[in-house]
Amino acid sequence: MVGIVGYGSYIPVYRIKVEDIASQWGMDPQAVKKGLLVNEKTVPAMDEDTITISVQATKYALQRAQIDPQEIGAVYIGSESHPYAVKPSGTVLIDAIGIGPDVHVADFEFACKAGTEAMFVAYSHVKAGNMKYALGIGADTSQGAPGDALEYTASAGGSAFIMGSEKVIAEFEYTYSFTSDTGDFWRREGMKYPKHGGRFTGEPAYFHHVISSGKGILEKSGLKASDFAYAIFHMPNGKFPQKAGKILGFGKEQLEPGWVVPWMGNTYSGSSPTGLSATLDIAKPGDRILLVSFGSGAGSDSFVFKVTDEITSVQDRAPKFREMLDGHKIYLNYGEYLKHYDKIHMNE
């Protein structure tokens, strides 16, 4: 049996309310909140980035897995906000955690599904017998241009998953991916902010890929929506995952635990992995969980997990996601938010 042996999430303590962003740009705050189903989002501290978020999420994953980090043979971080253009985020992480140096490290990119790519490859290594444990992470300090629709949701956070074959807490039962060349969202080399196709990001991009991927894994597995306790769909806003779930036959109670976007925002590569982490926090032995990511460009990875008896012994070994989400918060005004995201041009 190959699956997740440890998991952990981390989000910053800083928040900004959607109405504070809307007011800045002359938009109706209530209309924006109602349209997106998002109330507030996480904001990185000025000293936080994809690397520091990944490190803390990994520490929590190790607290749950209780393994020797030296036995981890691969470290993959998926993000679209790696702090360096050239120098892998994973190099800092392995030295911070005490992994390696005999370890394979790579950074992944695929818009918002880079995290599930990292998980997929980490899982595949263990399944192939290449190594005892592998680490897959999805984390972001997401980018959104001032005044752009993305600014209401682009947030910070991430989740880490250690894959192994002993003391598995959630077995990978099936995987499926669906990918095409779709220009819904992109960021050219050297540009600070991504651009997107507005409404084109909906039906031809998100829904086409997420529904196709979801249907694909249900057909491959022979399972139906009612066979699952929970399902998580990528969360660019509050509405899209609920609509996708409904199309595939999932009810609100199946989506609720992993539907973290209303109070966290869209952590891009960390979005659906963090929904999975929040769901594992409350899952019970025997539960089946469907995870469907989405990355613009575009593609969608789907996973079917079966939760094992081991889950109950690891859930309380590290902070749970909802404790972090509902715990200590510091609210920022729009000016402070710009400073945190380094959006103000300063004299050198």
Partner: protein, 130 residues
């Protein structure tokens, strides 16, 4: 902070690696060649727990250029459970919450950026325990 110096300090800044004198038990952080307490040269490497308490602190209102956008910020002397002492920024709280004697946890954060193109330097900072 130049790149070679930063790289050499990674075991301490990333993993809190200290040395314990095998004769008198003195904890050296960062490591030393000779024990300042007993003068002998034999040490055992230990990893400090990322927890401690604030011994004292100050608020920086006028900072060096690299830190000017962060003012006002707190810098504290932290004593870990093993007795090692270090200076670290205290972050993720409003300044009025910081008090001598409060428990803290140490987390990896970016401690300095060398302009827009230079190396990013990571290390420990303190957050109040909750």
């Amino acid at each position: 902070m130049i790149v070679p110096k930063y790289t050499r300090e990674i075991p301490q800044r990333f993993r809190l690696e200290a040395e314990k004198c095998t004769k008198c038990g003195y904890i050296a952080f960062p490591p030393r060649l000779i024990c300042p307490e007993c003068g002998q040269k034999s040490f055992q490497m230990i990893q400090l727990q990322p927890e401690g308490k604030i011994l004292t602190y100050t608020i920086i209102h006028v900072a060096a250029d690299a830190f000017s956008t962060q003012t006002p910020f707190a810098v504290a002397i932290i004593e870990t459970k093993e007795g090692a002492r270090m200076t670290a920024q205290v972050v993720d709280c409003t300044l009025e919450k910081i008090e001598t004697g409060k428990d803290v946890k140490l987390m990896l954060r970016c401690i300095q950026r060398e302009g827009k193109a230079g190396i990013l330097q990571y290390g420990y900072k303190a957050i109040l325990s909750r």
